[in-house]
Symmetry: C2
């Protein structure tokens, strides 16, 4: 075994030149997207009015490797390769024979992995001559990443931020504005859908569904505009594969290969990106790492959802996808891991889970997750995002299992972001005021009742 | 000229094993500390009741290199070596022939360079058998760094946080608590000095002077306790030399040497640390880099202060030091660079400036500093702390001067921290509500009137 540094650093020259597309190696592709207007399988052209054409094509691509454009790679270099940490202090605190590694994606100002997809999405839009983008943001990580990417490439950006979120997180709004984004509290008077809601209820605090409606409406009604989305889609998983590709090279530098790959999953972009090259090994039979996706017990799409066709967006404008879902009408409780409050799950991850390649999904309760986060912060000196802390919880549990069994397993987990803008959640946890909400079967049924009927 | 990556990364194996003590190479040492009780030059023993003995000895040491203890070096490795960035995008935006480098110290959860001194200070206290530390914090960076260090070494810590600051920055308080620190809003009922003030004025919002008084009182009246301080002192500059030592190695990796070394200066720990090995070259005559210290126009100790004996702390408990000072009674306006609101300046930096080795000090106005910060963030993708943005302002000005003269100078500046917890300041700037306060001569005179009389 080599002497492993605290942070395994990949030289800039080793930054991947291509993304890896896991669709190329899946024995079966995920069920086709369906055009909700025609009820027929959607094509890339069906996505053109909403997304840039190259991104729509990537959505359907089965090419194994896709070149990272030079312009994107140059911007990746301002914060990538990201470090792979060996959790020496956490291992010691747990008294475990396991070797724990984490890939840390919080070392850029957006604070998470979201920038990895924001940059190419803006780039492809710019190349097509698009000058203005729209999106929505709830927790604010995606909006921040996109504001940075839009600033770098010189595109205008309007972010529809759920009004309650913009009130609770004024700092997130301020960062986006510092990077030049136009941030509108949603519902807003900028769109017909926003105005309609405000007419009915001027005090409406908004929802992700409303914000998406406004963003899509502005994109499709303003010439030269397109809409962009930060998770769930195949194109996003493709871009995020840079996380796993780097991690694999870094582990090779220290003669390691993960027995376990653990990631939190909301829409699936972080888990999908981290696991990509290891899943390739699994799909081709080269190696057999074990995959664990971790989600909040409050929004349990993998563990309690249905594998069914549903809308990817709560505004029901994008094509239908078959995925693990709680129904687009499912209203998750106000939990602190805002990035994991999504009703569905990436179609690719859903298919891999359904077919047994993604081995396990776990749902964790909020207080357990924050206890893990606090232990991790105290040992490793990094204050994790509530989302990422779901993966920490599972990694700790697996390390403790190794302690019992005596197995020196190699655990890799994704630390997708830092918690600097989530201190309100930590305050609640420190005060003991976080509750462990778990939806009842009846509450879940209400969500399932909103599933569209697809033949 | 070598091909320079965006981030010059020093391998963990190259992390310095010794700190560099600039006092070893100064032709004249700074004027002696004076014991305010006896009026005589202070010895290291005079510091023992307040500081750990090894730290008190470092304060007076003229050893050129001092070993970094293994325990400290192991913890440095969790976030060091820190990256040296080449500001390619900023250079392009400025259209300058200058090559701009910045050493980024914001890549740890404390968010600044403060952790570099917090770790050894806690370590030396622990080695002496101290179990409990006290300190004060205003802006919160030092308190956060110390909370992390205390957690790592298992010491108890009480942080007296200026009450108005703890109200305005609840997130900073929450981070410290997440790392296990006991945070008391000052004035508090924990100390006699705090209780006395609360009796007179129950609504008192506190001040740094009051917080220091409480922290020192608790340290000297509680067995097994000591007080720690995050800037100004020689020991702190010694620990912070790790910044410059790494930066010098990183520049050597790409065949560079700085023509200009620029740092913001409040108490002097950041500037002193960054410049240390380059100042050695200057003092020994090996090279002649040009040094610029940048301070806020609202708190201009270098540019408008007196070179005089004064108290290092506004509570007047530490020995007197000769330094550039506005008087410990100077009340700086409420500016956003909280870390630069200090009435005095490191005795070492003061002496070097007085003797002409630190070439230049500049005072910058708040709006100019935030304009520089916003340009930097938009190009480099890092949201800088208001403190660090003073150095950015000067670096941009120098790069623009190079554009006029056509000189391809090499500029190194210190990016001492990120601004994730300073978004309130950015909000004010984006709203246009920041004013450029500059104290009048009369206001400065009020501060000078509080200078102690020393023969």
């Amino acid at each position: 075994m080599k002497n492993v540094p605290n942070r395994v650093i990949l030289p800039e020259s080793e930054l991947p030149r291509q993304w890896y597309n896991v669709q190329a190696d899946m024995p079966e592709r995920h069920d086709p997207y369906i055009n909700p207007g025609t009820g027929k399988p959607a094509t890339s052209e069906d996505f053109y009015p909403i997304f840039a054409e190259e991104l729509a094509r990537q959505e359907f691509s089965t090419e194994r490797f896709i070149d990272i454009p030079d312009e994107v790679r140059e911007l990746y270099k301002t914060y990538r390769p990201s470090p792979l940490h060996r959790a020496y202090r956490l291992e010691k605190a747990l008294d475990t024979p396991a070797r724990i590694y984490y890939k840390y994606e919080g070392g850029n100002t957006s604070g998470s992995h979201k920038l990895n997809s924001a940059l190419p999405q803006v780039y492809y839009n710019k190349r097509q001559g698009i000058t203005r983008l729209t999106t929505e943001t709830g927790a604010g990580q995606w909006g921040t990443a996109l504001a940075m990417a839009a600033r770098f490439f010189g595109l205008d950006l309007t972010v529809f931020m759920v009004k309650i979120s913009s009130m609770q997180k004024p700092y997130r709004k301020a960062i986006m504005e510092t990077f030049g984004a136009d941030v509108a509290a949603s519902p807003s008077d900028r769109t017909a859908s926003g105005r309609k809601i405000l007419e009915q209820d001027p005090e409406c605090l908004g929802s992700l569904g409303v914000a998406i409606s406004e963003a899509v409406e502005m994109a499709v009604t303003t010439p030269g505009s397109r809409y962009v989305l930060g998770s769930v889609l195949n194109q996003v998983l493709l871009h995020q594969s840079v996380i796993g590709l780097e991690a694999k090279l870094q582990l090779e530098m220290v003669d390691e290969y993960p027995d376990l790959v653990i990631g939190c999953s909301g829409g699936g972009s972080n888990m999908g990106g981290l696991m990509a090259p290891f899943m390739r090994d699994r799909l081709t039979g080269a190696r057999k790492p074990y995959f664990i996706a971790v989600e909040p017990a409050a929004c349990p799409s993998f563990t309690r959802g249905k594998y069914a066709y549903d809308f990817c967006d709560t505004a029901k404008v994008t094509p239908l996808a078959r995925m693990y879902t709680l129904g687009s009408g499912f209203m998750p409780s106000s939990i602190h891991a805002g990035g994991l409050r999504y009703h569905g799950m990436s179609p690719i991850l859903s298919k891999l889970y359904h077919d047994g390649f993604l081995d396990e999904a776990r749902a964790e309760k909020q207080n357990d997750v924050f206890a893990a986060a606090k232990l991790f912060a105290g040992e490793e000196g990094i204050l994790p995002a509530p989302e990422s802390s779901h993966a920490i919880k599972a990694a700790i549990d697996e390390a403790l299992r190794c302690k019992q069994s005596g197995e020196a397993r190699t655990i890799l987990f994704g630390l997708s972001g830092h918690g600097h803008f989530d201190m309100g959640a930590y305050i609640s946890y420190n005060e003991g005021s976080i509750t462990d909400y778990i939806p009842t079967d009846e509450e879940l049924q209400k969500g399932f009742d909103t599933l569209p009927k697809v033949e």
